[in-house]
């Protein structure tokens, strides 16, 4: 008789663990547009399978909730059922003995309160507020709705130029996005149900790295309409490109010397080489878009004048101004905002950090850009200070990993408190208050609070604040464009209410966001300006999409882009990540499940061939 034994999971347990992992992937890749009540019911069923059966609320209560919700879905629920669901769930959440019960009930409660109108519609009308709209998850989730399965199929067949042309139907920045897109498309990739998301961004990069340089399509017959675009960033140039293709005559006004906006002045060269950005810009300009750089609207030309001189106006001025944190000592010398620091680099006037100690404040992608740029400028040390934990940083995980690999230190749970200057007024140190991570806030993230520790001093020669960006909207507000908390006010069509002919989009409307969202706003603006001017031009691409191969690749690892040796990469501004090899690109493209052909996509919504 053994007194103790070493426990090893049996086969059934192992399989269940595998199934739990697969289920996790499945839930994470939940397609958009599903019935919330049906999902709530089936999550509840899963929860109930986890019950131990000891306590009453969990054992019986969850079961009764299932019956009640089912009756709502079957439209057999008597009056008052939804209230009964709510009170039952509240009682279970209040009285179940362990988390299995009370957390399950809390989820039901959150649902019945969060989408009660859907419960009611089911109960009364047998209808759902949601309709089945899950054709192609990547296309649905991409703000610009780029035909992703289409271009992946073209890459797989070796038609790289066609792939890039197809992308340009919805996004005239294929090069830039191939390098810096945050690829929301990968989040709900259906391939996650099999193994892992397709590396869509990496495949796009392979396509742009291997295609030729074709000329843009010829614009439609000239309409004689003149459109002014204010701001030569991704949003403005996207609108300009499509409007020019539609036959209108577009002039882009750019305040700085060169086009590109944040792509040029905000994103460092080691992520987006200027010559890559230039390919997108050159292609766009080949359509005949007129450009006037070095012109500041509101100073050199008034908004009213543009409104009068042009048939329509698209304002996409971005978010290029910085904001003070309000820390004591913030006006000390060598305290910079990330926006101006990165802009100076983009304009070819980088600071020399040789031998300097640099501190960066912030946890987003901009802070990572500043951190990794500082190290490339020769800094002796770069410390990124963040209020919360590393897990809570909003920067892409690979950016954080690369920054750390390149030798930056990330100092989490330190809240900037004050800035110490030396006798010459130069920054000498950042004082922080150590934090402890605490309860969850409304945003679903755990928030920090002051820890019972003493203030902490981080000596530095430069301090870069990468927290908030602001929109320089004053001149536009004076020009009759409404603002809300500093951002330009536009409706979902891009139209600025109360103006005769003004549309707006991009960071200037949304606040600092992503390139692809800026592009999407430009596309929306272009379509609606065209309609506003009384036209219905369409943008299309006649590339033939290859038929889907019958069987997809069996479970197979996702190809990740390889980083350069970080110790080498930290010394220059050359690209920090390497593109896929041909072998990698083909394997990765072969993993695509072709949701445009298999599943709902072939019935409805699989492909929008024009807009």
């Amino acid at each position: 008789m053994r007194r103790l034994s070493i426990e090893t999971p049996d086969r059934a347990q192992q399989v269940v663990q595998d199934l739990c992992r697969d289920m996790g992937h499945r839930v994470a890749a939940n397609p958009p547009g599903l019935c919330p009540v049906d999902l709530a019911l089936n999550f509840l069923r899963l929860c109930h399978a986890q019950t131990c059966g000891k306590c009453v609320p969990c054992r019986i209560g969850l079961s009764q909730l299932e019956t009640l919700i089912e009756s709502v879905l079957d439209q057999t629920a008597p009056e008052g059922t939804i209230d009964l669901i709510e009170s039952t769930a509240a009682a279970i959440a209040d009285s179940a003995d362990c988390a299995i019960g009370y957390e399950a009930a809390a989820m039901v409660l959150e649902g019945v309160r969060g989408f009660r109108e859907d419960y009611e519609l089911h109960a009364k009308e047998g209808r759902c507020i949601c309709s089945l709209k899950q054709p192609v998850p990547c296309v649905t989730v991409c703000p610009a709705h780029v035909d992703i399965p289409g271009y992946i199929a073209l890459v797989r067949e070796g038609c790289f130029q066609d792939a890039v042309d197809l992308i340009r139907k919805d996004n005239p920045f294929p090069y830039s996005c191939a390098y810096v897109c945050e690829h929301p498309c990968e989040k709900q990739c259906r391939r996650r149900l099999v193994d892992d998301a397709i590396n869509i961004c990496g495949i796009k990069r392979y396509a742009v790295d291997h295609c030729g340089d074709e000329a843009p399509p010829a614009p439609a017959e000239a309409t004689g309409k003149r459109i002014a675009v204010v701001g030569g960033g991704p949003s403005g140039l996207t609108a300009a490109y499509y409007l020019q293709l539609m036959g209108h005559s577009v002039t882009v006004f750019e305040q700085r010397e060169r086009l590109g906006g944040m792509l040029r002045y905000g994103i460092p060269d080691y992520r987006l080489p200027p010559e890559v950005l230039q390919k997108d810009i050159d292609y766009i300009l080949k359509t005949g878009v007129e450009v006037r750089t070095g012109v500041c609207i509101g100073t050199d030309i008034q908004v009213e004048q543009l409104r009068r001189d042009y048939d329509a106006l698209y304002v996409a001025i971005g978010a290029h101004a910085d904001k003070k944190l309000g820390l004591p000592g913030e006006d000390s010398e060598n305290v910079l905002s990330a926006v101006e620091f990165l802009r100076d680099c983009g304009e070819g006037r980088p600071l020399d950090f040789t031998g300097k100690r640099v501190v960066v404040i912030g946890g987003g992608n901009v802070s990572m850009d500043a951190t990794r740029t500082a190290i490339r400028l020769g800094a002796e040390s770069v410390t990124c200070v963040y209020r919360r934990r590393i897990d809570d940083m909003t920067a892409l995980p690979e950016e954080i990993e690369d920054a750390q690999a390149e030798g930056c230190q990330i100092l989490p749970l330190q809240a900037p408190h004050r800035i110490e200057a030396d006798e010459n007024g130069k920054v000498a140190a950042l004082w922080t208050k150590p934090q402890i991570i605490g309860s969850y806030g409304r945003d679903g993230r755990p928030g920090p609070r002051d820890a019972a520790e003493r203030e902490f001093r981080i000596p530095c020669d430069y301090l870069i604040i990468a927290i908030v960006q602001r929109i320089e909207s004053d001149n536009f507000e004076k020009g009759g464009i409404g603002t809300s908390r500093g951002a330009l006010k536009a409706d979902l069509s891009g139209y600025v209410p109360g103006t005769p002919n003004v549309f707006a989009g991009g960071d200037a409307v949304t606040g600092p966001a992503t390139v692809i969202r800026a592009v999407a706003a430009g596309k929306v603006g272009a379509a609606n300006i065209d309609s506003f001017l009384g036209y219905s031009h369409t943008i299309r691409c006649d590339v033939q999409i290859p038929p889907a191969r019958l069987s997809n690749t069996p479970p197979c690892g996702r190809i990740q882009l390889k980083a350069r040796n970080p110790l080498e990469a930290r010394g220059d501004f050359a690209l920090a990540t390497c593109g896929m090899t041909e072998e990698e690109a083909m394997q990765e493209a072969g993993r695509c499940l072709r949701c445009d052909h298999f599943g709902y996509g072939i019935f409805k919504g699989g492909r929008t061939s024009q807009w």
Binding site: C35, D38, I602
Partner: protein
């Protein structure tokens, strides 16, 4: 060409051919259920799945192209067992009371289940019950959710061919089903009742409201005088599901069958098609000369599906319709007012029935505007399918009946009236008589064949220009509402200009109407049926509506001239006198 092997037989087929079509080329029939060539190739039912050498899973053959060297097997144990299970699964959610289903014997699901020899279903029945299974019984279109197999054909034909988008999927997960789109109820929708969803449904999930019992009741009532009219397109299709070859399925044999059913008077709507030409043709010439068609055309008004569409989607253009009633309603008004006098009976004693290739006609005859002082124009509309069911129900065997002529007084009709049943026919008939009215002599009867529309559902429309007394009349003919929408948008944008436009809601016109028999092989029959009608016209002694002696007598004895006060009262209508249930919602 691509070389493939189907069940061991080598065959070469053009590139992009589907597996299903390639198998057909090799003489192998792959069973399928949801597939409808060119319209619904979505692999939903999984009945057509086959084995492809080298592929992990079974592959649907309807929507995947062959590749070079493909080895296809359509009848392995794996294929057969999977196909059977998938059909059993479909059957578990299908109301299999075939004896009380009007599609029994002509149901794709029944055929496939029978072919597979399914005698028992291991899966328990899982039908929708309670309020979720309800459908209004008084609406001319009836849907039985428990017979729907979610093949999506109705959605596709309504979206892609008609562009009306009445149907959509509703709900998600296990409760996903077909229902009226945008969470609407059918009665509050903009359904035009074209019935194309019915003729493309593989099962009995969609049908017209069955009105045959009302007809039998009237026939059995000794106090009622039953009068029936037969629409032109019915003659081209009624024999199909009765097993009659076209040469046997003549309109005069149909007249005999209707008398056998007990109708007292049998007429042909082609007569009132001729009358329509007189009224609508005159109206057109007046409007044309007055400059009324300078910007927007006058549209024909004989298709109630089209009228519903225009009022639902482009209500601002309602006044562009001809004010002429449709031939069905004109016939009804003439029967009530003129025939009753001739017969010396109270108009109210007459029970006026029409046999139509159409579901929308059921709604049209119920419109509040469709009556005269003598009462409602038409009492009851039956589709071609309902006529066939009545004939079967009475065990009448038309092939044994001798052909009979129509009743006198309103019996004669011209070939021009007959071609109303095919796309382009109304326009052609109108132009023949308009030519006469302008020039005082008849044109050659074949002078206007250029307006005949495409009956195969091809995109676009037919346009033609004619000289009428020195002025050029621009005409267009369109069928199918998807095409119609494009034409209307072009007209509204000023990209095209026409004076006179004929619109038929169903592709190919009434010959392809939503009240016509189902094709057992999913063939689109509008074209061949239309050709039959044009053949009848060609063989007619009478080719011009204005030469119809019965029409001439009617004007002489009752109406006076086209457009007279009496003609206005009997034969014209106010399209603004009623509303569609809902304006079209902005599509998302």
């Amino acid at each position: 060409m691509v070389n493939v092997t189907v069940n061991g037989k080598a065959v070469a087929v053009p590139e992009h051919t589907t597996i299903l079509e390639a198998a057909k080329a090799a003489g192998v029939d792959i069973p399928h259920l949801c597939y409808l060539k060119g319209l619904n190739e979505i692999g939903a039912c999984r009945v057509c799945c086959v084995e492809i050498e080298g592929e992990r899973n079974l592959v649907p053959s309807c929507n995947n192209p062959v590749f070079e060297g493909m080895v296809i097997r359509t009848n392995t144990p794996r294929v057969r067992s999977t196909r059977k299970i998938n059909v059993e699964l479909i059957l578990s959610q299908h109301d299999c009371h075939c004896a009380t289903c009007l599609r029994s014997g002509n149901c794709h699901l029944q055929n496939i289940a029978n072919d597979l020899g399914i005698l028992e279903n291991p899966y328990p029945r899982d039908l929708v019950t309670g309020v979720r299974a309800l459908w209004p019984r008084d609406f001319p279109l009836y849907r039985d959710t428990n017979k729907c197999i979610k093949c999506m054909r109705c959605i596709q034909v309504c979206d892609k061919v008609q562009g009306v988008n009445v149907w959509d999927l509703s709900g998600t997960g296990s409760r996903t089903r077909v229902d009226v789109s945008h969470n609407r109820r059918i009665k509050e929708s903009d359904c035009v009742l074209c019935g194309q969803c019915i003729t493309h449904c593989p099962t009995g999930a969609l049908r017209e409201r069955s009105d045959t019992e009302k007809a039998f009741a009237a026939l059995a009532d000794p106090d009622r005088i039953t009068v029936v009219q037969i629409a032109p397109a019915v003659r081209a299709a009624w024999g199909e599901s009765l097993g009659l070859p076209p040469e046997k399925a003549t309109v005069n044999r149909m007249a005999a069958a209707l008398r056998a059913l007990g109708f007292d008077y049998v007429f042909d709507t082609s007569f009132s098609a001729d009358l329509t030409i007189m009224e609508e043709g005159t109206e057109f010439l007046q409007r044309f000369k007055a400059g009324d068609t300078k910007y927007q055309p006058m549209f024909t008004s004989c298709c109630p599906g089209w009228v519903r569409y225009l009022k639902g989607h482009y209500p601002d253009m309602t006044a562009r319709l001809s004010t002429a009633k449709s031939p069905q309603q004109m016939f009804g008004a003439v029967v009530r007012n003129y025939l009753s006098k001739k017969l010396g009976v109270e108009p109210g004693r007459i029970f006026s029935v029409s046999i139509m290739p159409c579901v929308a006609k059921k709604a049209e005859c119920d419109l509040p505007t469709m009556h005269t002082e003598a009462g409602r124009d038409v009492d009851l509309v039956l589709t071609t399918r309902e006529l066939v069911r009545m004939i079967r129900s009475e065990h009448i065997h038309p092939e044994t009946l001798a052909e009979e002529s129509f009743d006198s007084i309103l019996g004669p009709y011209s070939g021009a009236g007959v071609i109303f049943g095919a796309t382009g026919g109304v326009m052609e008939a109108a132009l023949r008589s308009a030519y006469y009215l302008v020039n005082g002599r008849n044109p050659p009867p074949e002078a206007f064949t250029a307006v005949r529309g495409a009956a195969d559902g091809t995109p676009g429309w037919t346009e033609a220009e004619f000289d009428l007394g020195g002025s050029t009349v621009k005409t267009a003919v369109v069928s199918g509402l998807g095409n119609t929408r494009k034409l209307l948008e072009a007209v509204r944008a000023g990209r095209v200009h026409y004076d006179f436009v004929e619109v038929m809601a169903c592709p190919g016109g009434c010959a392809g109407g939503g009240g016509q028999p189902h094709s057992p092989n999913d063939e689109e029959l509008a074209g061949s049926r239309g050709q039959l009608l044009y053949g009848i016209d060609k063989g007619s002694a009478l080719r011009f509506s204005h030469e119809n002696p019965a029409i001439q007598a009617l004007y002489r004895e009752a109406l006076g001239a086209p457009g007279s006060e009496t003609a206005e009262e009997w034969l014209h209508t106010d399209h603004l006198g009623w509303d569609m249930p809902a304006q079209r919602r902005e599509s998302e």
